[in-house]
Subunit: 325 residues, 2 copies
């Protein structure tokens, strides 16, 4: 199958978003967004680094790559509307597997009424997916990391550590079975970015938001640094799944604080606006937990403190993994 045929096979024939003027089929796509701000981000995923066929079906690889992008949109309080997908395709990948990757992308895109408006396909040695997502947000309403203030409540959606637990189950088959294996595996292979919850938050006037791609310790640190504040978190308030305590406690600690890839949202909001956040959670069936508060810095340093289960206050270093080491 040549490049042209492959593009034709994944191309949409109609677009769900009325602001798409031209999708795939010319040198570039065209859209119009007169009333809102446009939010855009790119993420790149490489076989062997971010995913492997051993534990992910091609469908999951596509789904999960887009989920990570949509999570970036949610973390901005934005509604994703369109994507461009650039893919590097190794010869060893069959057309069927490639189509499955695109099925995974399209499955999640359809769920959120997102249009595939452009892309590029080239050959290379590792399957590489680079997805650019465009979203919209009411003017001036994008949620930045830099807006947290002392006194804010710190909250998080969902439960943490599940994705890493799923990864552990998939990569350590000899230790199986576990309770709720399907749940953890799904949380790893098909995470649900908090797009609907983020969309429901528009009435909140000031909110800092980050999505948990690299672990809550790292994400909280990013908010603290960008806002020049410190954050106190209570370990016993960090939400975990009901059968999470079946795993060794050292792994629980690692996964829930540093594990990442849960694609939940971490945010801060002032006390008076907290009911609005709770309401958004109810409206969208989103589990919501208050896990700490924002404080002024001590010694002029933005830090994340953890009040652990032994009631000790420790400094939580960012340990979310960083590529390129």
């Amino acid at each position: 199958m040549d490049e042209f045929s492959f593009i034709q096979s994944v191309q949409q024939t109609t677009y769900q978003q009325s602001n798409i003027i031209k999708g795939i089929g010319d040198d570039a796509a065209v859209f119009r967004e007169p009333a809102k701000d446009i939010v855009t981000a790119v993420d790149v995923f490489v076989e062997g680094i971010h995913f492997s066929k051993q534990i992910m079906r091609p469908f999951h690889i596509g789904y999960r790559a887009l989920a990570a992008n949509l999570s970036d949109m949610a973390a901005m309080g934005a509604t994703p509307v369109s994507i461009l997908v650039a893919v590097v395709i190794p010869k060893r990948w069959s057309t069927k597997d490639l189509e499955e990757v695109f099925s995974g992308i399209k499955f999640l895109a359809k769920k959120h009424k997102i249009d595939l408006i452009g892309g590029d396909t080239v050959s290379g040695s590792d399957l590489t997916l680079s997805i650019t997502v465009n979203g919209t947000v009411e003017r001036g309403k994008a949620c930045y990391r830099s807006t947290a203030k002392s006194g804010d409540i710190v909250f998080v959606t969902g439960s943490l550590g599940d994705s890493q637990a799923g990864f552990h189950i998939l990569t350590n088959p000899e230790t199986r079975p576990f309770q709720d294996e399907g749940f953890y595996i799904k949380r790893h292979q098909m995470p649900s970015p908090r797009v609907d919850f983020a969309k429901a938050l528009t009435s909140v006037s000031r909110m800092s938001l980050n999505d948990i791609s690299d672990g809550i310790a790292n994400e909280a640190s990013e908010i603290a640094n960008a806002s020049n504040v410190s954050i106190h978190l209570y370990e016993d308030a960090v939400p975990i799944s009901k059968s999470f305590n079946q795993f060794p406690s050292s792994l629980q600690y690692k996964w829930k604080l540093f594990g990442g890839e849960d694609f939940e949202l971490l945010g801060t909001v002032e006390e008076e606006e907290w009911p609005k956040v709770q309401y958004a959670a109810e409206q969208t069936n989103t589990k919501l937990s208050k896990i700490g508060y924002v404080t002024l810095n001590e010694d002029n340093k933005s830090r994340v403190y953890l009040i652990n289960n032994k009631k000790e206050k420790v400094i939580l270093k960012k340990e979310g993994y960083t590529h390129l080491k």
Copy 2:
């Protein structure tokens, strides 16, 4: 150097475009475009497929990747304003070389007042650059391939085949020297996308445009198919550089018609509007050649015909190379 430090090292501290609300530094970038249409495209470039360090400095690799993207914008009649750069970085690439890649990107971006507003960096086995470019165009003024009509003049900017000649010189050092080597090599390593010319064309009411990334035969075929017309080209009107005839005539023929990567513009416009195109060329110091005309289809088939130097009329098949074979 870790990912965070590298991003900091290439990050812009100020933005040239006033519509950029948030650049690098959060989960996504934010911009506003109330009055114009937004044009967006992604291109991906892989080491060993699209470029190699043997014949390109890292600076040229970055420059050329962006040049190809900007050429897509020019082909839509759009003005590029911002880019997102996703890069896969192999361990064997030094930080210095990587910074040089970004220098090449930034050099061309600065020339066109384009802001780097986002990106992603991950490790992998082949250097891979995926650049998403956002541009703007007056509402409803994007130039599509599908608008050519019978009777239109077919024109092209610049000279064709130079990039392939430069590639030939670089990859066949034993055959050197050639006349004007520096010129051809520069046309390969640092092509000039026709952004300024495209921007000057706004007064033309209907124009089909394509940029020549895959050879004029292929690009003309794309316009013909999208517009459901045929195109007649005169070989002796296809513009070549003055010392181009130093190369074997079979290579000249191949390079100018199928060579590609010259990043010139191929367009069609009705006779009455031709003076506007000529004026845009004069204003922007762009070489412009009338090379053929658009006709109705014969036997209901969109074709590209070449009236060759022997005055024979042949059907020109698209032979621009296609990846994924």
